[in-house]
């Protein structure tokens, strides 16, 4: 039972480069989220999606884009990477009902140099 899978686990980018962080879940959850966690801090919501084709901004969306073409996949795109985007990125999914808690992926540690 894979749950939420993120790739890659680690990545180093140069300033101005772009990349896509991949996130896939196999629990048929409608809701998916991207968070970032800076050192010693809590998680900040970047973008979220309530279903295929529907996305919305969270607390810190600037510099990122998302898409949701299928229920399973929710990729996060970084355009023109900046040092301020150095962080650990977590993807999560959830479903309403008896177990509404979010299930998190293992994270992607991104460094922009």
């Amino acid at each position: 039972n894979a749950g939420v899978t993120q790739t890659p686990k680690f990545r180093i980018l140069k300033i101005g480069q772009s990349m896509t962080l991949q996130c896939t879940q196999d629990m048929n959850h409608n809701y998916m989220y991207w968070y970032r966690q800076d050192p010693g801090m809590g998680l900040k919501l970047i973008y979220y999606s309530v279903g295929a084709g529907i996305t919305d901004k969270g607390e810190v969306p600037n510099g990122y884009n998302v898409s949701r073409s299928t229920t399973e996949d929710f990729p996060l795109r970084l355009e023109l990477a900046a040092p301020s985007q150095t962080s650990v990125y977590f993807c999560a999914s959830t479903q309403t009902g008896l177990r509404p808690e979010a299930f998190f992926g293992q994270g992607t540690r991104l460094t922009v140099v």
Binding site: K44, E101, G107
Partner: protein, 112 residues
């Protein structure tokens, strides 16, 4: 804008002692979650509190929710070293979309 504050931010305690972590939030919500994070790892769900007065217990940890006071507590009983981790509370900002706003976390270090 919903704000979530935890205190203390850092807690060093001896094995066998009891302590409480507090989570305050600024706007109305009746859904609150507690997560545990080990260093370099992802977040693990501990408790889901879905109504005023909800109390959940698992082993040495007990969580409660007072929606009127906008306060949740995570009580640790007779701490053991294995409980050392960072604990986050998170509040559902919307109810309809399960968007979570996280506190800054409490780093718990249990000393032998």
């Amino acid at each position: 804008e919903l704000k979530v504050e935890q205190n203390p931010l850092f807690l060093s305690m001896q094995e066998g002692k009891n302590y409480t972590i507090y989570c305050n939030y600024s706007t109305t919500s009746d859904r609150l979650y507690w997560y545990r994070q080990d260093p370099g790892k992802s977040l693990e769900s501990l408790f889901v509190l879905l109504s005023n007065g909800a109390v959940k217990q698992e082993g040495r940890l007990m969580a409660s929710l007072d929606t009127k006071a906008r306060l949740s507590t995570l009580h640790i009983t007779a701490a053991v070293h294995d409980l050392s981790a960072t604990y986050f509370c998170a509040v559902d900002a919307s109810g309809a979309t399960n968007k979570l706003i996280f506190g800054t976390g409490t780093l718990l270090a249990v000393q032998p």
